[in-house]
Subunit: 399 residues, 2 copies
């Protein structure tokens, strides 16, 4: 059993691929922020990728009704039939995309959806092209499945997105899928219908699948709210979730849209990997598409827009470099001012320790210029945002 | 991109390892049972691995309180600190095992727990020894991770369990872990403290880890209720869940107990694979260890025991071969009577079509003598069980 791994006291060592999964830097920052708060310090949290809003009342009420009715048994692996229909109907009503429930599979969060899509598509050794920076779990989950993430640096010149032209230049043998997110984490950038169509055309030409992560869908500001599903379902997988727009983070409920054949395969994978998503959450989510809920969500969307419209110029004023206006999600991905010489990791640590503002270093999203970038999440209201800007300003003055 | 796979209309074929995941036979039976019910037929469901009992009232009430309080944000990936403490405390109170919360990680169901343990331990190509018959998802999840299930036939002579002696004979190079379940699905058989200790000693001697699936823990009848954790945590991983004993199937909440180092690695894996388990479920589960809940669970345990004590002799009377009394879970794994010549798949199909009793064929649990076995789940009350026995008797008479 000699495997070239360290073994303490004869114990079985953990797998190298598991040990290679690093904690997010933001977790260490968050723990330190909690320590400082416990010691009486005021901390403003702009590091959290979770809306401050609670789950909308009509969804909470539907969840309570489901519990009162004892609806706690397993659902089918692909989700409650009514919920699959409701999600499909949402695409018709809001996006004009005609889709049957057989194209929708309910999953335990976008995380579960991602795992299902990657598992359905990829063989060990397959390559998947991803922009850098991007959501870090893409790379980690791919590696656990034996696939190989192919990170392509993207910068402000392409709005931090993989374009068809950039993807074509970076293409290499074995690329089997391409992942983009719109609106994107950590940059808030949005792909328009044309950019999505070009990426899809490239993928189809190269025999690869396009995976579009639309987890922040609906959270767009003064640009069209689009879905890649308008392109049809050939070689296209769309991942979505009730977490962000619908305010249901802790419920762990998401979905995949794909071809009937792929949904059938993912249904069987889901039976084995998850059994099904949480049942009360599925019943609660049926209320997510009610007019009353959608009105609440629209008012929240406008609140996020107001926050962005405050924070974006304020950060630019302080010298942070955000060349393009991010049109979606609730993130600003900011380049450090020229005169700041230290790495973003050191910068965020000092920002937290010295003035009590928590933000996420670029290192959590990839390697490309990560040491020169920060992510600000406007998941706090205008007053704390204004206070944060003041604190950052005083910090910058002392630099 | 030629990969030797079929491609329809130029579309990207799904991965072979994903397409190889077969649906459970019981899913087809269940769908057919629903069709028959829709057509007005009476069907008795003994195929379902889910208690008929609803979630106990105090847990439902705690879930409703959590929703009323808007507790719907993400929890830490390893679970709510209070819940980890409550689970650790449960081991102390009920099993006399002294364990800190740092040894517990809350997961989205035993399914999630299984994925975390396998991901933490295994490299591609590692072998994992598993008894046949056993819970089918072990094999499927292992294959998705690039590991290799090594199925070892086990029969009534070892109570359908891998014993240390049997495992030692079947050992082969590359075996990195051994999985047992106690009480087991599909057989209801229970490993005693001595059998667990022997398996653990063998694994330690061979440099492998022992993974014990205790998802049916607590559901034992007139035998000691034990946990493998009494053996310590060296090279031992215990998987458990709120689904079966605690009656929380649809909530998707389970846990892993392991060494601190392994829990830390699984914490980071969980951040990437799941983010965390469902938040309202975690708050609800805090009520699972309340005396009021435990009293309800004890009365349910006694109800299962009464059902077993009815169904076991009744099936033996009809010629089904169940040599040892299964002491746990809510399953009887029965050999077909000698005079039945057809395969279990054909038998269960006819049983459903002709007399409306649904049971699971052995094929869902492995290959070893699968065509000669059925699983009866006593997840229905005494009246439907008695009716089922009458119907099976009339079916057998006509054979």
């Amino acid at each position: 059993m000699s495997r070239g791994r360290d073994s303490l006291d004869g114990s079985v060592p953990l797998a190298a691929r598991a040990r290679a999964v690093q904690p997010f830097h933001v977790m260490r920052l968050l723990a330190r922020a909690h320590e400082l708060e416990a010691a009486g310090r005021s901390i403003i949290h702009l590091e959290v990728g979770e809306p401050d809003f609670a789950t909308p009342e009509p969804i909470l009420a539907a969840g309570q009704r489901a519990l009162a009715a004892g609806l706690t048994h397993y659902t089918p692996a692909a989700g409650l039939a009514e919920l699959r229909r409701a999600i499909a109907g949402h695409y018709g009503r809001r996006y004009g995309v005609d889709l049957g429930p057989e194209h929708i599979l309910v999953a335990p969060g976008a995380s579960g959806a991602l795992q299902l899509v990657f598992s359905a598509l990829l063989e060990p050794g397959d390559r998947v092209m991803i922009g850098d920076p991007s959501y870090p779990c893409y790379r980690q989950v791919l590696r656990l499945l034996g696939a190989e993430p192919l990170s392509v640096p993207v910068g402000a010149d392409s709005d931090f997105q993989l374009t068809a032209e950039r993807a074509e230049r970076a293409w290499s043998p074995g690329v089997r899928a391409l992942v983009v997110a719109s609106p994107a984490n950590p940059t808030g950038s949005v792909l328009d219908a044309r950019a999505l169509a070009d990426l899809h055309a490239l993928c189809r030409e190269r025999g690869a699948a396009l995976i579009v992560d639309e987890i922040y869908q609906g959270l767009v500001y003064r640009v069209p709210d689009v879905t890649a599903l308008a392109l049809g379902l050939d070689d296209l997988y769309v991942i979505n979730s009730f977490s962000k727009y619908f305010g249901m983070t802790g419920w762990r409920l998401g979905w995949v849209a794909g071809s009937v054949e792929s949904i059938q395969v993912m249904d069987r994978l889901s039976q084995n990997l998850f059994i099904a998503a949480n049942t009360p959450a599925q019943h609660a989510a049926l209320a997510a598409f009610e007019p009353e809920t959608l009105a609440i969500l629209e008012s929240r969307r406008l609140a996020f827009e107001t926050r962005r419209d405050f924070l974006l110029p304020a950060l630019r004023e302080l010298g942070f470099r955000i060349p393009n206006r991010p049109d979606g999600a609730f993130y600003l991905y900011a380049g450090l001012p020229e005169r700041v010489r230290e790495d973003s990791m050191a910068f965020v640590t000092r920002l937290l320790e010295e003035v009590g503002v928590a933000v996420t270093p670029g290192h959590d999203f990839g390697d490309h210029a990560a040491g020169r970038h920060l992510r600000f999440a406007y998941t706090r209201d205008l007053d704390p945002l204004a206070e944060a800007v003041e604190r950052i300003a005083s910090f910058m003055e002392r630099l």
